[in-house]
């Protein structure tokens, strides 16, 4: 049955920058939500035809199948270097990277620190889910202490595996970093804040302010071995208390 609803206003629709396809993400995964937030920000700012997005190696590698603008795929950890090459050649385009915690905070540590330190005028969306989703749930640099992963079967022990890395705090002290905020996706309220932060990062880039990054806490129910509901509660209680939300720097 079709209902005529001429009088109703459309308040929610798929962003133009997001393709009308089904994603491959697991139920309760944060990646899909974050993709959408980025697309909403791009639509709102009217920059779809100026954007170049860089997908990481990680669960989000085929983000380009979901995004409807120019995209590429960088080697694992190298999106900030690729973004640097693109942005320096085309300073009037909007360039962003999308990176997991393995990509950005382990193998790509050098690239992210130096892109920030050069004040590259790019936006970085850093998805912290505390594990390596794509390769099957191994320890990430951001894995919490005592968290069980396939490579920390008895829980992460600082004595042998070090501490969960607060890379955003490290990047925030660099003079090249114009804006850095940590947000989360564990509730509608936090998702709205995440959306605002993503948009702000693009605005900083449009205003040529320099390097900006939004760290987005995200769930990986599959490798946390939790239901989507449990994962969300875990994010609020455990993850967000180790990784405090809020603006780390803004210039």
């Amino acid at each position: 049955m079709t209902v005529q609803c001429n009088t109703m206003k459309k308040v929610f629709t798929r962003p133009k920058s997001l393709r009308d396809v089904r994603t491959h993400y697991c139920p309760g995964c944060g990646h899909g939500v974050i993709h959408r937030l980025i697309c909403e920000a791009i639509d709102e700012l009217g920059i779809r035809e100026k954007v170049i997005g860089i997908a990481p190696v990680g669960c989000a590698v085929i983000a380009y199948d979901y995004w409807d603008f120019d995209t590429t795929e960088a080697a694992h950890g190298r999106p900030p270097a690729v973004a640097t090459g693109i942005k320096r050649m085309m300073p009037d385009r909007i360039v962003f990277t999308y990176q997991g915690d393995g990509d950005l905070a382990a193998i790509g540590t050098a690239e992210i620190i130096h892109a920030a330190n050069r004040g590259e005028n790019i936006s970085v969306f850093f998805v912290n889910n505390g594990t390596y989703g794509m390769t099957g749930g191994q320890m990430a640099p951001t894995t919490l202490l005592n968290q069980k992963t396939t490579t920390t079967p008895h829980g992460r022990d600082a004595k042998t595996a070090g501490y969960p890395l607060k890379i955003s705090e490290m990047l925030a002290i660099l003079p090249g970093t114009a804006y850095l905020e940590r947000v989360s996706t564990h509730s509608p309220k936090e998702i709205l804040k995440a959306r605002a932060a993503i948009k702000k990062s693009f605005v900083k880039q449009i205003e040529n302010k320099g390097f900006s990054m939004v760290e987005i806490l995200s769930a990986c129910p599959t490798y946390w071995k939790m239901s989507p509901q449990e994962a969300v509660r875990h994010m609020e209680k455990a993850v967000a208390s180790y990784y405090p939300l809020g603006i780390l720097t803004e210039k």
Binding site: R48, E49, K50, V51, I52, A55, V61, I62, Y64, W67, D68, F69, D70, T71, T72, E73, A74, A75, R78, A81, V82, A83, T84, G85, I86, K87, R88, M89, M90, R93, I94, A110, E111, I113, H114, R118
Partner: protein, 360 residues
Amino acid sequence: MKKVLMSGNEACGEGAMIAGCRFYAGYPITPQNELTEYMARRMPETGGVFIQSESEVAAINMVFGASLTGARAMTSSSSPGISLKQEGISYMAACELPAVIINMVRGGPGLGNIAPAQSDYFQATKGGGHGDYHLIVLGPSSAQEMMELTVLAFDLADKYRTPVLILGDGLIGQMMEPVLVNSRQSLVVSKKLTTKNWVLTGCKGRDPRIVKSLWLNDGALEAFNRKLGEKYEHIKRAETRYEAVRTEDADIVFVGYGSVARILRAAVARLREEGIRAGLLRPITLWPFPQAAIRQLSKKTKKFVVVEMSMGQMLEDVELAVAGNAKIEFYGRPGGGIPHEEEIYQRVIARHKVPKQSKK
């Protein structure tokens, strides 16, 4: 055209400027620092971008990004640094992104030394990085060629949408020679090459584009590899380059490239004076290798002498080309040793009985 005294490193940089290079990223390493420093000076003068990157890994990935926008882009390094670039080079070959990569080879393996060497031939011509790909590899043997082959490298990179590697060495890089600085017109192949319909510029007025190297669907990567393979076959047919010096009547043909070829050229002249019919075949493209030319020669030449500044790498390609048709001798100086003309002359004289009739 003006003649300028330049090192091979500087001549390479000037070649890049002539070719319209817009982006350079590199990390210091001897013996190619003069090139990085030259680019640091010259790129900003022409509105181009120079970045001293945090590593060779970052440099090649910056070049990846710049190339995506359609800009002519280059990076340079020497052996250990080129090893670090291999993942990025493989990605560029897979994404069919043009770029020019310079390797001023030094002694290896490991940290080795900073003396000239040719021990990265395998790495350059047989893959280097992972996967089923080739680079076009050029082997300049003078500062002049360093410049001209750099221009050619940019054209070939654009023409075939592939990374092109120049395999120099510390000697070519640091030796000063007079160089005829040609104008762009006299060197560049075609304007068409710089119009690119695959670049990422934002999707204004067209459908979005994706440049990637992941092919997950059943059979997709196999089909892509076959397409790449066809491109490489085409390059083999169209772009093989070599120089033959007095090979028509030669009993002994030297095979050597780069700096070694200069030494061999002098040895040929000296042996000819002694009545020994020597010649030189100098590969200019190391990949594609001038296999057909060597095979042809092997049907009438008695002996090939392969000389390399390594333990014998190109030697394997010569063996494949000769296919048992003639004798092959090898003389190698690894680890930074440079063969002297006298050494080569003495070796040949000692082993070669001068034919009676040519001794009059």
